[in-house]
């Protein structure tokens, strides 16, 4: 956004992903053991994202084949998709936080001087972290309440609370990413969108 014209030219080659380079394996910038753990979590999250999406396609098609060819619908198909969508969403929000991919409206923010942007970014990251941790806590409570009531999914006949397991985990991981981003911004001179994405580093890649 700082150079609208160059971003215009750059974006001519930019689509969903056609010209994205195959994403290199993520390496955490965090020091020591923390970095190893972060890298591992990132890997797990990407596998969950990819597997979740592909499973969803297979499951949906299988239901069509069952209904159309074998005259018998897969009754748990919809419930399975629901489980997958929750998994994808909550693995994804943490992944997106790590890679600075959450949607934001940065027009005014970008117009500020670096001196103002830095404390603002720290405040944004901290406040976001607080809400993510809060939601992690309340979604855990929600899950426990569900477990206490014993509600089951009508077709799969498994307890409903099981499908929400990813929710508190996802919120907690997202909160952690934002907290680390705030800390990184306090320590380093540059301004960071996430622990390893520098603000404005590559307009196309990261500013969404």
């Amino acid at each position: 956004m700082k150079e609208p014209h160059s971003s215009q030219t750059q974006s001519q080659t930019d689509t969903t992903s056609t010209d994205d380079p195959p994403s290199p394996a993520y390496r955490s910038d965090l020091p020591g053991v923390l970095g190893t753990v972060d890298t591992a979590i990132s890997r797990i999250e990407s596998v969950m994202l990819a597997a979740g999406v592909l499973l969803m396609a297979v499951n949906t098609i299988a239901n069509v084949v069952g209904r159309f060819v074998f005259q018998s619908s897969i009754f748990f198909s919809e419930e399975l998709n629901r489980i997958l969508i929750i998994m994808i969403t909550f693995a994804g929000i943490s992944y997106a936080a790590r890679h600075g991919r959450h949607i934001r409206m940065s027009a005014i923010y970008d117009a500020l001087s670096a001196k103002l942007r830095k404390p603002l970014m720290i405040a944004i990251a901290l406040i976001t972290a607080v809400f993510m941790f809060g939601l992690a806590w309340y979604s855990l409570q929600y899950m426990l309440t569900q477990a206490g009531r014993g509600r089951v999914l009508p077709s799969l006949q498994i307890p409903v609370w099981l499908i929400y397991v990813w929710v508190p985990v996802g919120f907690f991981m997202t909160g952690t990413q934002y907290l680390l981003t705030a800390i990184k911004n306090m320590i380093e001179r540059d301004i960071y969108l996430s622990t390893n994405v520098l603000e404005g580093y590559d307009d196309d890649e990261f500013e969404i």
Binding site: T16, S23, V53, L54, T89, R104, A107, I127, F131, I208
Partner: protein, 428 residues
């Protein structure tokens, strides 16, 4: 309470917070003040889950994945080459084709978000290459996709029909007129835009070249066949058609064209999951926020002060349009329909308005609201898929909004735009 919440949300949005935060904070403040503390935050989580529950949402990741595979491989390029061989030499031809493709795809798939992805992602790079400005392209894609609300099958119209006890068949037919009118106006605007900005045209192709393009596109033409034939042939629901497209795209790009490797597939699936998550967390947060608005009976409060009972037919239609337009700027369209339709039902009846006309006007407002800032699902989808800043995605929107509002006004002044086809079909 409403004013406080909206102000906080707008401020957080403008400061550059991740978009989920204004929605989450809006819902949080609502729950906190409604229940005097943190006692009911679990229900906020419940509603976030409810937001991402509808089975039809599955179409979004499926079409993202299919479109991404097609664009990485050859399918999308070959299909667009075919279109270009027919319209490339016409001024604005590509833009008009894009608008038409969005309308058609949206009409069939029933999902505006899926349309933004499926049609937008292959066509946007081609339009950029052809010399259109990105702001125009993005606005064109988002707004043309929203015409889908008006053309059957339309989930918004089904919900309206059930809540207001109105014939869904009649609603479906009534939406076609305004939908096509909007497409026509968008096409005219695209042509004017192309002429004024001197978007270059390509040399006219010969019939032989067109035949070659057609030949190259034979395999990829299976996509429209699957979607249109599969849905109207009663084989798939629109959601399932999306999954079938994924399968067909995999077949073409991995087996026929051999463009996609397993590593590429993994990357594509991962990026699909990421985009899905980024959009769905907003859908979830938006649902929690909508619950607060509904539970606190905020619309009832606002409308009670207007004195709508004193107004005539036109006045009522204007108020309805404005209420739905504003509602859909902030809240999920389906919730807006569920909450507002019963509130307006008595006055619609008492002034003797045709419920089919009201339904058409409401659906149109829902379509406009979904593409209008600050909050709109299709805007979020476009940001996530095209990786453009929020401001870039909405920059080109105003002319489209003006056209849409013009059609709203025309519809109120000349209800026949909607009712003509209905009256013809149902011999009224």
């Amino acid at each position: 309470m409403a004013t406080t919440i909206f102000s906080i949300m707008i401020v957080l949005l403008l400061l550059g917070f991740p978009m989920m935060i204004p929605l989450i904070v809006g819902a949080f403040v609502g729950f906190y003040s409604l229940f005097g503390g943190m006692g009911q935050m679990e229900t906020m989580v419940q509603q976030m889950m409810a937001g991402i529950r509808p089975a039809s949402l599955i179409a979004v990741p499926m079409f993202i994945l299919a479109a991404d595979i097609m664009t990485r491989g050859q399918s999308a390029g070959r299909l667009i080459d075919l279109v270009m061989s027919f319209v490339g030499h016409m001024r604005g031809g590509l833009a008009v084709s894009t608008a038409a493709a969005c309308t058609m795809f949206g009409a069939v798939s029933g999902s505006t978000q899926a349309t933004v992805v499926a049609i937008g992602s292959p066509l946007r790079p081609r339009m950029l290459k052809a010399g259109y400005k990105d702001s125009f392209i993005l606005a064109l894609i988002v707004n043309s996709s929203d015409i889908a609300f008006l053309i059957p099958p339309s989930i918004g119209m089904i919900i309206y029909g059930v809540v207001s006890n109105t014939s869904i068949s009649e609603l479906f037919i009534a939406g076609v007129g305004p939908g096509l009118l909007i497409l026509l106006l968008f096409s005219i605007y695209s042509w004017v835009y192309a002429v004024r900005n001197k978007v270059p045209t390509e040399p006219k192709t010969s019939w032989k070249e067109r035949l070659i393009a057609l030949q190259r596109a034979l395999w990829p033409l299976g996509f429209p066949a699957i979607i249109i034939g599969g849905i109207y042939g009663g084989i798939f629901s629109p959601t399932e058609a999306a999954a079938a497209c994924v399968l067909y795209a995999l077949f073409l790009e991995m087996v026929v064209f051999r463009e996609l490797t397993f590593a590429g597939l993994y990357d594509t699936a991962k990026s699909t999951g990421l985009i899905t998550a980024v959009v769905f967390i907003l859908v979830g947060a938006g649902a929690a926020f909508s619950w607060v608005i509904s539970f606190a009976q905020i619309p009832q409060g606002i409308l009670a002060g207007i004195g709508i009972d004193e107004m005539g037919q036109v006045g009522v239609l204007v108020v309805i349009s404005i209420a739905f337009f504003i509602g859909c700027m902030f809240v999920d369209p389906i919730v807006v329909i569920l909450v507002l339709v019963p509130i307006f039902a008595p006055v619609v009846k008492s002034v003797g308005l045709d419920p089919v006309l009201v339904g058409t006007i409401i659906t149109l407002q829902v379509a406009i609201g979904s593409a209008t800032p600050p909050f709109g699902c299709d805007i979020f989808t476009a940001i996530a898929v095209f990786k453009r800043p929020y401001i870039d995605v909405i920059r080109g929107t105003p002319p489209f909004i003006v056209i849409l509002l013009g059609v709203s006004a025309a519809l109120i002044a000349f209800p026949q735009i909607a009712l003509f086809l209905r009256d013809l079909a149902f011999a009224k």
